[in-house]
Amino acid sequence: MSWERIPGFVSVKEALGETTVTIETAWILDACEHARGEGFSFLADIVATDYLGWGDRGVSGYIGTAGGRDLNHPMTQGYQKLPESKPKRFSLSYHLLAMRQPPVRVRLQCWLDEDEPVQSVVSVWPTADWHEREQFDMMGIRFEGHPNLARLLMPDDWDGHPLRKDYPLGGEPVRFSEAE
């Protein structure tokens, strides 16, 4: 199918045998509806990635990085080259599958700033319900129009979104530790 006809089309990239179609964030619902009409009836996954700090991991390597040398981790060697910069903080990927022969897989991707909402696709694929709730829970992506955007894996009263890069590993407060 011609990817250019998808509403909100920005660019298409082929890498490692996979197709990534970048979509204007505001058009994602229309893009998904269009894709569903083109036979992508199966939504495999919705996944958000946080690119905060992308490219400035500690380095003492061959080529300098934006973050410079990490004195705390002198053993780590640096990147051979700087990774490609990303347009915004979060990427949101929709992995679609067209069940035909041969099967076609495509990744629709849009980019989000912190606190930038995106339209929910639950109306297109009901399975998006939990996938979107999970990404809301873990990454703090707000899906507008989702019928029940509550936390899914973490407790309802949890603070923060654990898979964000600024959320520390072991960030769970120790309960009942003192003054009990």
Binding site: L16, G17, S41, A44, Y79, P102, N148, L152, L169
Partner: protein
């Protein structure tokens, strides 16, 4: 056994849905697709009682919590609550080197462990564009099929146990034990083997594995006949599974169902055949497909799949016996640990070993999504690498997670006793669901 007709004999438009739906229209709840709401007029009568199943109920296959609204024995409302086994695997893996990450996926789906490990390893190999030797490909296929049998046996044993057929549990776990013994022989561990490495296998196949595995291949069809004899004409089993928890093909696809749950609903779709990986394009097997989408059909699909898996294992064995003496792991010293004995004599090997273990190998920048047909359906792994020694982002498309999204739809017209059968038939592993 109902086998779907050959592909290509009908228009591509109809395929992969091969049977007419068991009901017309959609049963997916309108407001929230995963929550069955109590009708307002029923709620007004005041007869509806809300009951909490789980998270530690013995019939919930782990820590699943179901908030159920009952009108007498009728289930009129349902909300599945998950997350009680959330362990933060994805976050932890971001802080480990690629090499150390391999142990984690197995602990996510702890029943289909070998397949879970495979999907991660395949995704990393895709990023590295690394070729694996033929022996590794065939051995992976073999172990994944053994694991599929293992997983279906656990499903069969526990589902039957929940519906009162306790002897099934003992029989299934007897064969499961044999499979675990085979795993122990190969990898030294009964579960969570870490036998698949990035690039191939951890070690060569041990002497004595082939005859033991062949014994199992010869025994297993007889065991399957036993199971059928025990269950398939058992009036209670039939009464409690037939026509219960029905899911149409269209609803199943809309809800993202995959694997046996999808094939029980009349969708002839199996990634092993339709998007082949490993050696699946070189083995002969059939894809069982049933039409009613009820609990009984989900059980039948898994029974038939076990028989097909035995056939695949048999073919893999024949092939592997001819591959004796060939390498089992790729010869890429930047990624693969050097052989142990070389460390005593070769400086380069020692350096490579040290580098891989301490700081890990680097994986080229990029993002991939690898998908395989795990015992529970499409298991996917999404990876982002920034070119460093640790993954930037790891995400798993967990088939159990998706399967539980269908509980509300399947619960149409169900009694409280059916609830147990339905949740069991979706075969969700809570570790996989919550990750």
């Amino acid at each position: 056994m109902t086998i779907a007709p050959e592909r290509g004999s009908r228009s591509m438009r109809d395929w992969p849905v091969v049977f007419p739906p068991p009901y017309q229209g959609s049963r997916i709840p309108k407001r929230v697709p995963t929550i069955l709401d109590v009708p307002a007029e029923l709620l007004a009568t005041g007869d509806v009682m809300q009951i909490n199943f789980g998270p530690n109920h013995p019939s919930t296959h782990g820590v699943l919590r179901l908030i159920v609204d009952l009108d007498g024995e009728q289930v009129v409302g349902l909300n599945a609550v998950i997350g009680y086994l959330h362990t933060g695997f994805e976050k932890t893996m971001e802080h480990k080197t690629w090499w150390k990450c391999v142990t984690y996926p197995e602990r996510i789906d702890y029943v289909g462990y070998q397949n879970a490990e495979l999907v991660f390893v395949l995704a990393v190999e895709k990023l590295l564009e690394l070729e694996t030797p033929e022996k590794a490909i065939w051995m992976r296929t073999l172990l994944c099929e053994l694991n599929r049998i293992h997983s279906h046996l656990v499903f069969l044993g526990t589902s039957a146990l929940e519906l009162g057929a306790i002897s099934m549990f003992w029989y299934c776990f007897r064969e499961r034990e044999t499979i675990l013994d085979l795993y122990e022989m190969v990898a030294g561990a009964r579960m969570h083997t870490r036998y698949f490495q990035i690039g191939g296998l951890a070690e060569d196949i041990p002497a004595g594995f082939f005859p033991e595995c062949r014994k199992f291949v010869e025994w297993m069809p007889r065991a399957l006949d036993d199971y059928l004899a025990l269950l398939d004409r058992n009036a209670i089993w039939l009464e409690r599974t037939k026509g219960v928890g029905v899911l149409s093909a269209e609803d199943a696809i809309a809800l993202g169902q995959s694997g046996p749950n999808l094939r029980a609903s009349g969708v002839d779709w199996d990634l092993r055949r339709d998007q082949p990986y490993l050696a699946y394009d070189q083995v002969d097997f059939r894809v069982p497909c049933y039409r009613n989408g009820d609990v009984y059909d989900r059980y039948r699909v898994r029974m038939d799949e076990m028989a097909e898996s035995v056939r695949i294992v048999d073919q893999c064995l024949r092939r592997l016996e001819r591959l004796e003496g060939t390498p089992w792991i790729a010869d890429d010293r930047k990624v693969v640990l050097p052989p142990r004995e070389e460390l005593h004599t070769s400086m380069e090997s020692l350096i490579h070993h040290f580098k891989i273990v301490t700081e890990g190998f680097r994986v080229p920048e990029g993002e991939v999504y690898a998908a395989i047909e795990s015992p529970r359906g499409e298991s996917g792994c999404y990876l982002v690498s920034d070119g460093g020694p640790k993954p930037w982002r790891v995400h798993f498309r967990a088939p159990s997670f998706v399967a539980l999204e269908a509980t509300a739809t399947c619960m149409h017209d169900a009694l409280v006793a059916d609830l147990i059968a339905i949740v069991g038939s979706l075969d969700a592993v809570m570790g996989d669901t919550d990750r």
